[in-house]
């Protein structure tokens, strides 16, 4: 029996989807809302909603008390830097795995991904000491390296699945047409893989932007990104929820905007290969 999509069923599914979506969004929504409340209103119990005291003071305070532009710039440098470096390493790696696979390519991919299953705190001490000894602590290059290594397995995997979708015969055709390996990559492979490379890049920038464990642990002032900026409002001042919320909102807003405008590309990237 064919399953008819009735109007009723559509309404139920749509409502359910909205409910789940709102549930996921609620913490972000509450953070943004709290950032516009006075400190007293923010901690009121029961929570105040419409009747709260609204203010922009928190933003003014946060802006005055810390150097937001510097944190912002550090976030930009670290997330984009680690992504570009990661792509430079992952593109050749994924290419060789997709087009010249060996007997153990699948195992190698699994092994790479398995490093993501390790709790980051497990290598905290060695990483910290290594960064101290090599002078990478609290530097842009240090954090770019650390985040690149954290996300490299994901970049390689994503690119690998994209490249796998490119039919080998097209590359063979280029070879028959007299293209050298370099020309084959420049004129045929790369243009065909650009959508995949773009969505991998976007996702990775978001992951790097939101990373908190290593960025907070391995920085103090010079290279501290927005995650450290948020943390600085949570620790010493204790229960200043409204200011913490304002700082959080300021930290997540740029990436939310980027994400909003690129959502089409992102969804394609995350669901690619799921349905053929």
């Amino acid at each position: 029996m064919a399953r008819a999509v009735t109007t009723q069923r559509k309404i139920v599914y749509t409502a359910a989807a909205w409910a789940v979506g709102l549930l996921i969004f609620f913490p972000v929504f509450w953070t943004i809302l709290t950032s516009f409340k006075t400190e007293a209103s923010a901690v009121a119990s029961p929570p105040e909603f419409l009747g709260a005291d609204w203010t922009l003071e928190n933003y003014a305070d946060v802006w005055a008390r810390s150097d937001y532009p510097r944190f912002f710039w550090n976030s930009v440098v670290i997330s984009i830097g680690s992504t570009l470096l990661g792509l430079a390493i992952a593109i050749p790696a994924a290419w060789s795995m997709a087009f010249v696979p060996g007997k153990r390519t699948k195992d190698l991919l699994m092994w790479m991904l398995s490093t993501k299953m390790m709790p980051a705190v497990g290598v905290l001490i060695p990483m910290y000491l290594l960064f101290q000894w090599t002078g990478l602590f609290d530097t842009h290059i240090g954090l770019i390296l650390a985040l690149m290594l954290m996300n490299l397995p994901i970049i390689v995997w994503m690119l690998y699945t994209y490249f796998k979708e490119i039919p080998g015969e097209i590359l063979e055709a280029a070879r028959m047409d007299g293209a050298s390996l370099r020309n084959e990559i420049i004129y045929v492979l790369t243009p065909m893989a650009i959508p995949g490379i773009a969505s991998t890049m976007l996702l990775n920038i978001i992951l790097a932007w939101n990373e908190a464990f290593w960025t907070i642990t391995l920085t103090t002032i010079n290279a501290a990104p927005l995650s450290a900026f948020i943390a600085s409002f949570s620790a010493p001042q204790g229960l200043f929820y409204a200011k913490l919320s304002a700082a959080s909102t300021m930290a997540i807003m740029p990436i939310l905007i980027v994400g909003w405008f690129s959502q089409k590309q992102l969804v394609r990237g995350l669901t690619f290969g799921a349905v053929k």
Partner: protein, 331 residues
């Protein structure tokens, strides 16, 4: 020039010997078709000639020069793939001119050659479209266009028509044959369809399990198949092969009679019609002839027999093929 010589060419994937050793001469200007059932190694053999696969041993010479270890780009051959393998991000014009660009030809020269190829292939009005906007037949023409602009020593076709529907296939088959007559360039064509092989080839190479069973012109293969495999593979509908007492009467292990070499109405054989296909010009009968097995018979178009009818029939005496215990032709 486009003369290709294979000497003891072998190809193994691990322990699997796909091509156990092939010797073959392809002459300049010849239209050679590799035909055989799927998995017989015909595509692998073509890819070895193209350089897309490395030979395990043996020599491939193109125009007398050893090309065994040359990369595909250096062999001067052009290939048309089953999937067309067009560059999806390029327009038809860019697709066709790509090999010229790779050869470092000037823009003006490229444009002139593309125009000429497009005219020959009726593609002039599609030059600015992308492959995704073309029909299957048009894509196939673009793939051929991309191959002919290079003026290669030889064309390699890997089952180029198998993705087209039946009507289009017949049309493209004729176009490729006409193209060969025009260009007079060597063509090596792989197909599993023996009708394509018979209609297009100057020379057919019948392959089975990586071995060359027979090389010859279509009519040679039709009239004098060297063994039961070639006998059963070439010709449509298939040759009837019979063993046992009937074969023994002719002093053979197996005898073969083509459906078109059977006379209906009188003869030593009899059977019951299981199926009658009236095509208008001919009628194909599937006849259960008892001990002889189930035989296919071609009768005239106007013959009035149908399911369940009992008929008398027999072979034309001069058209009986006799095969020995080793399957080889005895005559």
């Amino acid at each position: 020039m486009g003369q290709i010589t294979l000497k003891q060419v072998r190809k193994s994937f691990g322990d699997v010997h796909v091509i156990p050793g092939v010797d073959l001469d392809i002459l300049d200007g010849e239209f050679v078709v590799f035909v055989g059932p799927s998995g017989c190694g015909k595509s692998t053999l073509l890819r070895l000639i193209a350089g897309l696969e490395d030979t395990t041993s043996g020599i491939i010479a193109i125009d007398g020069k050893d090309a065994t270890s040359l990369p595909p780009a250096k062999r001067g051959l052009a290939m048309v793939f089953q999937s067309y393998a067009l560059y999806p991000h390029m327009t038809v014009r860019k697709n066709i001119s790509f090999p010229l660009k790779m050869a470092g030809m000037s823009e003006a020269e490229q444009a002139a050659k593309v125009e000429r190829a497009a005219k020959v292939l009726n593609l002039s009005s599609y030059l600015d479209r992308k492959p995704g906007q073309l029909s299957g037949g048009q894509r196939q023409r673009v793939a051929i266009g991309r191959a002919i602009v290079r003026e290669p020593a030889a064309f390699l076709f890997d089952e180029p028509l198998s993705n087209l529907d039946a009507a289009l296939r017949v049309g493209m088959r004729q176009e490729i044959t006409e193209l060969h007559q025009q260009l007079k360039t060597t063509m090596v064509y792989v197909t599993h369809d023996q009708v394509e092989a018979m209609t297009m080839a100057d020379k057919i190479v019948v392959l089975n399990a990586g071995r060359v069973e027979q090389v010859g012109s279509p009519l040679e293969l039709y009239n004098r198949p060297v063994n039961t495999f070639v006998a059963g593979f070439i010709g449509s509908p298939k040759m009837n092969l019979m063993e046992g007492a009937e074969a023994a009467k002719h002093g053979a292990k197996t005898i073969g009679v083509r459906p078109e070499h059977v006379e209906v109405g009188s003869g030593p054989w009899s059977g019951t019609v299981m199926l009658a296909e009236h095509l208008g010009s001919d009628t194909f009968l599937k006849v259960n002839a008892g001990d002889l097995g189930i035989l296919t018979v071609r009768a005239p178009g106007e013959v009035h027999v149908g399911y369940g009818d009992h008929i008398q029939f027999g072979p034309q005496a001069s058209k009986i093929h006799r095969f020995g215990p080793d399957g080889k032709n005895m005559s």
